[in-house]
Symmetry: C2
Subunit: 450 residues, 2 copies
């Protein structure tokens, strides 16, 4: 990869050696001058708490802000809580407005106030604009470092105006054309500026059919817009069309990553911001809640089995075989659930096509129900030499896989309609249903036919 990238691992190894041998001064030098802030953040995130605290103390105060912005929420909050307002001000100097706003949002109100007071008026006003929008909206995601121009100047004037800058803000691909009242009326991509005749007016070449984002738009909608139009940056406007700032693709990539992680983590009842190296008691406490919810589900399932206790006493083979029925239902249902959750997230599923999907899933569920029912029946017959048992388990399998298809399709659609995150609660609901139906169908049929 890049020259920087290649040499990272050996540098990290040398750093660990220095730390282990107690050569703290050497480690401090390596950390502050040998590594990019993003690499220091990665190193901190890969380190258990005790060593992590030693490392953090070695990072120089003026670098801490740079490193902080790349850390996960969980670790960020922990480090921030140990700094006082003065340390915070010096650490966060020079950060982008959106990154600084992100950091500030994790602090108590009194500390935010102190940090803001220590800033210059203009900077403070910018931060306050961003802070006035929730973190997961376009307003919370935006930067205020836009370059704006007026429509009635020539491109040559624009070029000379740009040359007065020492550098342009990162990811600047477009200049924003505004009226005297800061109303956004057009965009001038640098690509267009560079190929156009310098003597013509901005108004004549500017793009008037441009993509823009309302400050209150959800961050996931912003991500869709960027993906759809392959954007690098987009202007953010207030409801009355006034330019507030711009969002750049690097922040959108973070939204996409977090969104994807949220889905994977919440399927296991976890928080995507969780620190991989959180201490045992914190990890245990957080997971206890999810285990408690699942214990309620398991207890319901257990009561369903309890109804048929006397049948099990008669035919203990039922207890041996019953987990097959429930687990196959759970697996089949999870497949349907996953396809539906993805389809809903991509915007493919909704409205009229749900019915088509329901029929498709039921057909596919029955198909696999019959296929595996025959095989499980044969296993049961061979093992217990009981044809009736084979027939009963086969029928229970077909019933459970069909119900699994039904539940796997309807649960995410209904949860979505109730504005409940299907990735979080869909799995528990589904397996509770497939477990109960699997056990009741199998044991109930057995109770009826023996």
């Amino acid at each position: 990869m890049s020259p920087n990238h290649k040499q990272l691992q050996p540098r990290l190894d040398r750093l660990s050696e220095a730390l282990e041998s107690g050569a703290l001064d050497q480690a401090r030098r390596m950390l502050n001058r040998g590594l990019a802030p993003v690499d220091v953040a990665h190193l901190l995130e890969s380190t258990p708490p005790r060593e992590r605290n030693v490392l953090w103390e070695l990072v120089e105060p003026e670098l801490q802000g740079d490193v902080l912005q790349y850390l996960g929420d969980d670790i960020q909050s922990e480090f921030l809580s140990r700094m006082d307002a003065e340390q915070l001000v010096s650490a966060t100097e020079g950060l982008d407005v959106d990154d600084l706003a992100d950091l500030l949002q994790r602090l108590p109100n009194t500390v935010i106030h102190e940090v803001l007071q220590a800033m210059e008026a203009q900077e403070r006003q910018r931060i306050e604009t961003v802070l006035s929008y929730p973190e997961d909206t376009a307003g919370g995601l935006m930067n205020t470092d836009t370059i704006t121009i007026r429509p009635d100047i020539t491109l040559d004037v624009v070029l000379r105006y740009l040359r007065r800058h020492e550098k342009l803000p990162d990811s600047t691909d477009t200049l924003l054309v505004v009226t005297r009242r800061d109303e956004l009326i057009g965009t001038l991509p640098l690509n267009l500026l560079l190929v156009s005749d310098p003597s013509i007016l901005v108004r004549e070449v500017m793009n008037t059919d441009f993509a823009s984002v309302q400050a209150t738009a959800a961050d996931t909608d912003v991500a869709s817009l960027f993906e759809k139009f392959d954007l690098i940056s987009a202007p953010v406007v207030s409801t009355d069309g006034a330019l507030l700032g711009r969002i750049t693709i690097d922040d959108v990539v973070d939204v996409i990553r977090e969104d994807a992680e949220h889905q994977v983590m919440s399927m296991a009842g976890l928080d995507e911001d969780e620190d991989t190296f959180a201490p045992a008691w914190r990890t245990g406490r957080r997971r206890a809640v999810w285990l408690g919810i699942n214990l309620i589900a398991a207890t319901i399932v257990s009561f369903a089995i309890g109804i048929f206790e006397s049948t099990i006493q008669q035919i203990t083979a039922l207890a041996v075989l019953m987990p097959i029925v429930s687990s196959m239902g759970g697996i089949a249902g999870s497949q349907t659930l996953t396809v539906l959750i993805r389809g809903i997230a991509l915007g493919h599923v909704g409205g009229a096509n749900v019915q088509w999907l329901l029929v498709r899933e039921m057909l596919s569920g029955m198909m696999n129900g019959v296929l595996w029912a025959v095989i499980v029946a044969l296993v049961a017959i061979v093992r217990f030499d009981d044809y009736k048992l084979g027939g009963i388990i086969a029928l229970a399998m077909v019933i459970n896989l069909t119900v699994a298809a039904l539940a796997g399709t309807l649960i995410p659609v209904l949860l979505k309609r109730l504005k409940i995150d299907p990735a979080l609660s869909g799995g528990v609901l589904l397996t509770t249903i497939t477990d109960v139906v699997g056990f009741v169908a199998f044991l109930g049929l057995a109770a009826a036919f023996y």
Copy 2:
């Protein structure tokens, strides 16, 4: 959102109305002139097969290529397989080299050859370069539309050279500085060009410490590099440093999306390229494999229970309670597994810190084991009025949650070392272990103490 975005839904509604009322000419007009290709693709992906085929026939041939590039692999392959070489050539005219190469890779070799023959020599050569690299490498991801300049010209000459272009390639944020032999020696970001004095030489301002990518680098490594340095584009070079092309952020965003989808889908044994509206027989057939693998796991679990059949006959309460022990182990193990899989994917977990995580997970597992063991024991005692049973289920819970922590930590680490995708096979392996350990611990303790 943007003006385009806002009006999409009403236009889609009018289109469905036109289709339902059989006004095909009107629908054709809406489809080809009213919607962006990316919206047509989205519409096709949200439509069941029969209506989808009707829609596809309505898309004009010269627009089909544009639409095709936005479709998922599954649907793409299906539409492509119905087109002959001539149709393919006309449909794919004007596509970006990387998108065209992606499409071609889904075709049989004879058809690829025919399509390539119909192209101009220069275009053919470009495509062949991209096709010579696997799809999931930097080479397969790159475009060849770079703008290159020489080091010994002034910026003013560069500006005049750019003005000779009608437009610059999409997402051009950087000009690439090459020697006569096409060796990449520097980059000139447009942002730098625009703020610099036009009279100085490229050599004097160009960036020589730039990020570049080897053509053989994995696409996920390219994504990490882009995220790390907030890149918009990166040059792709051969092993001897010759410039081959460039990768742009929009393609990297696709890699990140697919990567995330892969993890979610493969956890349920599904393929991320799967068409949400695949017909029932195809869906059923694909899922049958996964269900078969899980049936093997369930049969193993069932055999483990079978060992204790006589114990269950004595105390049927065991059959009623045993799913609680196994399901709690499964849930706890999945949480550990998910945290580890994410940690490995982010590069946080590996080497020395695995041991720390193992201890943390075991501690946290035992903590929750004891907590929920007490509660489950109380439920069992109240329900069956049997103190011994309460003690046995409590002990089995602690054992199973500790083993779940152990398995959840070690399975992904070992699978990773064996180069097996932990997201795909980790879950089945884990629940088989927690099921077997849960049942055997509970029933075995009962067999020993009754």
